[in-house]
């Protein structure tokens, strides 16, 4: 309906009683000659505008006919105020309606939707991060288990060779010791033994002659052990991604020890023809050096190898496991806080 509220009434009132303040002063004068004609014209304009708005993409255009100047002029005058207010009210009501329907609720819904979206992204990231961390932890634990098993197998293998060495050492050493104990204090037993080619003499001589071979055996043994250790470390790096630090592990007999070792052998080898007591002393000394070196350097230190290697492995993997577990715990805490926020957001 194109008739503005109050316009007809105002027109009728004007016809009945001239207003105290001439409405001619208002910009709404003069009216069209014929009211019906005026309404038709307005309807025609409205229809045209509506059609063009539809063509512009507004399917249901909401059009409010309004005269701002009429409203403002009318609001100035106490007698006109009610009419002007009633003319203004539809516009105010439209604004209120929009605030109610699309303004406030839309703002709140949009704001809430944004936060839900962010919280959703965050939740997905937490879930994804937690899943990745869990997988990482599982992989680390698995790798640690395999690497540890592999190390224990290696150390067990090493211990077996150590036993072989100990056995070798013992058989040589004990034989010589037994001879010395048996003939200790008996002057000239060496000469006698060698001269008569008695069994004891042959055994002792064999021991002395093989002492250098024994040194060589030890060095080979050490070299082989070192290679095995290096191979093991390379395999560990390839299979488990773990690099052992082998700097503290000897690859050969230390120079000082080797010198003492060869010196002792020479001493033992030079006993023939010497004073039997002195020879005995030298042999015992040689045996002592050999025995203590092998025990100290190999039997004891090889045990230390195991501790060192385990320590390296444990330090790294247990550190990784601890770190992963802590991160998982943080993810759990974050997820909990997020859930609380989401519950509050949903309220």
């Amino acid at each position: 309906m194109m008739d503005f509220l109050g316009f007809g009434r105002r027109q009728r009132r004007r016809e009945e009683t001239p207003p105290p303040r001439p409405l001619a002063a208002l910009p709404f004068e003069p009216p069209l000659p014929d009211r019906a004609q005026r309404v038709d014209k307005a309807e025609e304009i409205l229809d045209s505008v509506r059609r063009q708005l539809r063509e512009a993409g507004i399917s249901e255009p909401e059009i409010l006919t309004f005269s701002a100047r009429f409203a403002l002029e009318g609001l100035r005058i106490r007698d006109e105020r009610a009419i002007a207010a009633s003319h203004l009210r539809p516009l105010q009501e439209k604004i209120l309606e929009r605030i109610q329907e699309k303004g406030g609720e839309l703002k709140v819904a949009s704001a809430r939707s944004l936060l839900f979206g962010l919280a959703g992204d965050l939740a997905r990231s937490v879930e994804e991060g937690s899943r990745r961390e869990q997988m990482k932890l599982s992989r680390t634990q698995e790798t640690y288990g395999t690497a540890r098993l592999s190390l224990e197998e290696f150390l067990k293998d090493l211990a077996e060779t150590k036993d072989q060495l100990a056995s070798f050492m013992e058989s040589r050493g004990e034989g010589a010791k037994a001879l010395i104990t048996k003939y200790s204090g008996t002057r000239g037993w060496w000469q006698e033994a060698f001269a008569t080619r008695r069994e004891e003499g042959a055994a002792f001589r064999e021991w002395v002659i093989s002492a250098e071979d024994f040194l060589k055996f030890l060095e080979d043994f050490l070299s082989r052990s070192r290679k095995r250790l290096t191979d093991f470390a390379e395999e560990a790096k390839e299979r488990h991604g773990f690099t052992y630090d082998l700097r503290d592990f000897p690859s050969a007999i230390p120079q000082e020890d080797r010198q003492a070792f060869t010196w002792a052998i020479k001493m033992a080898a030079g006993f023939r023809g010497a004073d039997p007591d002195e020879a005995t002393r030298r042999v015992l000394l040689t045996l002592g050096i050999l025995d203590s070196w092998v025990k100290a350097f190999w039997l004891e230190r090889s045990a230390e190898w195991g501790r060192l290697l385990r320590s390296q492995l444990d330090k790294v993997f247990l550190g990784r496991i601890k770190s992963s577990s802590e991160r998982l715990s943080q993810y759990t805490g974050l997820a909990g806080e997020l859930m609380r926020l989401l519950r509050e957001l949903a309220c």
Partner: protein, 190 residues
């Protein structure tokens, strides 16, 4: 203040409108405050766990911060658009019931975007769309129109033919899904 501050002269009608605005916008403002606080807590959560989360979450958070600032303005923004002398300023004055807050006249009176915060609604008057002289002004008018909660698009009742400038703007706003109320401003046929 205008000598015709009608809201103070006749407080009852204006008060009703204000009360209704307060009734509608008050709870919205409270809820938006609550949501704003929740947003702060989410961001605090992000900061505290920065090392656990991917960079994309923080980029998203920055986007949300920006969008939230636009969306969560408690005031309701009403922008008036239309051609020169379509009655934008007069309509704006009528809404706030102040006679001359937004200057009106037969010639080009509104040359820049003018805002008035009134009872939790922010009313934005813009220059005539066919009289915008600089790109900056046009950009500003566009920014106001796009950020408005409601666009009051003033059309002249002189003719049923809409100007192409108007139609272009209307199409653009409609494309954005903007809420538009068309006002066929009656100027001569009273």
């Amino acid at each position: 203040m205008s000598p015709f501050d009608l809201s103070s002269a006749f407080p009852s009608d204006a008060d009703l409108f204000r009360q209704e605005l307060e009734r509608l916008i008050g709870p919205v403002r409270s809820e938006l405050d609550r949501l704003g606080a929740l947003k702060g807590r989410i961001q605090d959560l992000l900061e505290r766990h920065r090392d656990l989360l991917p960079a994309q979450v923080f980029e998203r958070s920055a986007q949300v911060e920006e969008q939230f600032a636009k969306v969560a303005q408690p005031e309701f923004r009403v922008a008036l658009l239309g051609l020169l002398s379509a009655g934008k300023s007069s309509t704006a004055n009528a809404i706030i019931e102040q006679d001359e807050f937004f200057p009106t006249g037969a010639t080009r009176t509104t040359t820049t975007v003018t805002k008035k915060d009134w009872n939790m609604i922010s009313i934005v008057d813009t220059p005539g769309l066919d009289s915008i002289e600089t790109r900056e002004d046009e950009a500003k008018a566009r920014e106001e129109a796009t950020s408005a909660d409601l666009v009051l698009f003033c059309l002249s009742d002189k003719s049923g033919d809409l100007d192409t400038v108007c139609l272009d703007w209307i199409k653009e706003l409609a494309g954005m899904g903007k809420d538009i109320l068309f006002i066929l401003n009656k100027k001569r046929d009273q």
